[in-house]
Amino acid sequence: MKILAFGKIVELLGKTELELDNMPNTDILLGFLQQQYPELKNMKFSLAVNKKQVTGNTEIPQGAEVALLPPFSGG
């Protein structure tokens, strides 16, 4: 699966993309990311799985594209 970072999270991760495997749901993914990047814990962001925002723990399909989305600030 591909993890895409946007906005402020790109700076925190130091990159725009990650490749990860064996993340069956978003809770497990978030746990892993927060361990690797502890500053994520202090950051407000939401997740999109295959370009749809999700709330609560959500299954991640095989080969999904998961995006880490800080609060939007367009316009």
Binding site: A67, P70, F72, S73
Partner: protein, 148 residues
């Protein structure tokens, strides 16, 4: 016959020029069932921040998702209001203070639908499209824009 709409590109590289806006307005003169147009333009402000004054905003987006979201917003607003036309443009990349970064344009037979739809679009665009603005300050530092 029902109208068929597909996702349209809303992104413009850099600022949106007044000439582009004029051209968009002029394109509607052949649609003689239109009685009112409502336009919203977002312009980059030279806000005073703790570390300096904003001199530009650099926009990035999750483009695929933004276009899909914009399409859904478009469909929802078209089905809610009797509109003749709707156009949405948002900048990507750098837009300097005083320049236009957002152009929302609705047209209808009567003014009320155009005005209400335009306002609703602006609110939804700001809230629902995965776009981020990074404010570039005059001392070359930067901070991430926060929408209120």
């Amino acid at each position: 016959m029902e109208k068929k709409r597909t996702p349209k590109n809303i992104f413009v590289e850099g600022a949106i020029s007044p000439e582009k806006i004029a051209k968009s307005i002029a394109n509607h003169s052949s649609k003689t069932d239109i009685g009112g147009h409502s336009i919203f333009l977002g312009q980059v402000r030279a806000d005073q921040k703790e570390d300096g004054i904003v001199k530009a905003i650099e926009y990035t987006a999750y483009e695929d998702m933004a276009l899909q979201q914009a399409y859904e917003i478009r469909e929802a607003v078209f089905s809610k209001y009797p509109l003749s036309c709707m156009h949405i443009y948002h900048s990507l990349g750098e837009v300097k203070t005083g320049e236009i970064c957002l152009f929302v344009f609705t047209s209808s037979k009567h003014r009320k639908a155009a005005i209400d739809a335009c306002e609703e679009l602006v609110e939804r665009i700001k809230k629902e499209l995965p776009i981020w603005g990074k404010e570039i300050l005059d001392n070359e530092s930067s901070e991430w824009k926060v929408n209120t």
